[in-house]
Amino acid sequence: MDTLACVKRVPDTGAKIVLTDDQRAIDTSNLGFTMSPHEECGLEEAVQIAQDTGGTATALTLGTAEADEQLRTALAMQADEAVLLETEEREWGPLDTATAIADYVRETDDEYDLLLFGTESADNGNYQVPIHVATQLGLPVVTAIKHIEVEDDTVVARREAGGGEEVYELETPAVVGVKEGLNEPRYPSMRSKMRARQQEVEQHHPEPGGRDRLEMVRLEAPEQDEGTAEILGEGPEATPRIVEILQEDLEVL
């Protein structure tokens, strides 16, 4: 099965976020970049499926030239090929992004059986790129997937719902949006990182269609609820007071 994993370069998750002076971006001068965690799981799944079925895994990203770094990581994680849809601007809207990806898939000679995305990117959280891509290509799609099995030409995909799981069966070719936790992405070895540096990255230069009507004005940090915690005590001595709170204030005992 030939797979395409679409990934995104995002600022390191977990880092302290500082905004630029104009509040239109995150100040990345002291920040590293990484692959968006949901998509990293999508890539890992693509590689595993390709290896299990004797197919190929291709990593694709849309972004500036710096996103080459995440494609090298993808190659080091055993993706067979990498594609950069290079843009001038760091941030494209969801419809333009999806259209560029769908155009690439339509025009390439490679035919992919399974296209994997993060359900939402960690930074923008737009929740729609995989669905726009699938709709433009006329493929079935399901999102928020935490487990995938491939059975011949069928993808069995599961997602959490109401304390259990919903099971979907999609005939390939198909699009699946995944969530972090789908699998445990591998750490690339030093040797595979060295090899990845030498591999070729296919480059394309899509133009934005300007059809997105969702325009960012500025970013801001939300106000923090700075409570004034009542200190119940130090160490186990606080226990009687905690029990009192559980019984009387919260009535959970």
Binding site: Q128, H132, G164, E180, R213, R218, G227, T239
Partner: protein, 322 residues
């Protein structure tokens, strides 16, 4: 008119849908237009009374024998066709898995973009929005254009407030035109979770453990506390990255968003990425050795101490109290 997609379980609206209706009602009031709801599936008509409490004037029940099971394209086609008939100013859905998915399909069918996870909306030719990014770590002020605006409301952000004047909604049936393709992707079966106990997202009490737990074995005490309180165990990203807990337990930016009555945060520093996962908690009790830890600033109650000493003693006291 504002058209709101309401999710329900056997005729009882989901909390996230009631929150969304509160946001949608604000949009409707600002435009001086009625608030209308669309519900799909078996027992959908049963939600009408509840929706009147939230100011909905008309409830459209999507009437189709195959829509009892969820099928994203069939749901989206139904909403899209109804929206084409009604020509609303905006279509709003809850920021749930289905809400995002269905509205994204509507957006794709209309070749426009939707705005996900909105928390404030000001109407106009273009809407001015505040929406969550980075799972709520950052907010974005944005402008959204298009004839019919498509947006989802962030879950656990806007509290569900009944309308000042409740309504008695008219209930209308809507019969969409759906071909076989609309059911190509559908829920083929439901399976019970193999995880025992209360699901994290629904737990009334969550006992969370972070780096301070020190290893996978340390969670035994937390499991016991969660059991005694009828709750569930959660974990910070640090603990999940260490491999101490599965990702399903992760509370935070890329994990679960929880809204328990009580969150007991044990050995968790309180990084902003974790706090966006637990800010829906009504109360936080922090147990931490560091009195300067960020979590203590954000908690209602705090114990300065080692969780490995506090939690076993607490478990013993609760057992005695029971």
């Amino acid at each position: 008119m504002v058209l709101a997609l309401v999710e329900h379980e056997a005729g009882v609206p989901e909390d996230s849908s009631l929150e969304m209706l509160t946001l949608a009602r604000g949009v409707a009031e600002e435009t001086d237009e009625p608030l209308t709801a669309v519900v799909v599936g078996a027992e959908a008509a049963g939600v009408a009374d509840d929706l009147g409490t939230y100011g909905v004037e008309t409830v459209y029940v999507v009437d189709h024998e195959r829509l009892d099971d969820y099928a994203p394209v069939a749901w989206a086609t139904s909403v899209d066709q109804l929206a084409a008939d009604l020509d609303p100013d905006a279509v709003v859905a809850p920021g749930s898995t289905r809400g995002h998915e269905v509205l994204a399909h509507v957006a794709a069918r209309r070749e426009q973009s939707m705005a996900a996870n909105c928390i404030e909306v000001t109407t106009g030719e273009e809407y001015e929005l505040t929406r969550q990014r980075w799972g709520g770590t950052l907010l974005e002020e944005a402008r959204l254009g298009g004839d019919t605006k498509l947006l989802t409301a962030a879950a656990h952000e806007v509290s569900a407030e009944p309308a000042d004047s409740p309504t008695e909604p008219a209930v209308e049936s809507f019969d969409p035109s759906l071909d076989e393709e609309a059911f190509e992707v559908r829920v083929t079966r439901h399976e019970a979770s193999d995880v025992e106990g209360v699901p994290l997202g629904e737990a009334r009490v969550v006992v969370g453990g972070g780096r301070g737990v020190g290893g996978p074995d340390g969670y035994d005490q937390l499991e016991e506390l969660a059991d005694l309180l009828g709750g569930a165990v959660g974990a910070s990203r640090a603990a999940v990255n260490e491999g101490w807990r599965p990702h399903d337990d992760q509370v935070g930016q890329t994990g679960a968003k929880i809204s328990p009555k009580l969150y007991v945060a044990c050995g968790i520093s309180g990084a902003v990425q974790h706090m966006v996962g637990c800010k829906g908690a009504e109360n936080i009790l922090a147990i931490n050795t560091d009195p300067e830890a960020a979590i203590i600033q954000k908690a209602r109650w705090a114990v300065v101490g080692d969780l490995h000493e506090v939690v076993p003693e607490l478990n013993e006291s609760i057992r005695s109290a029971n």
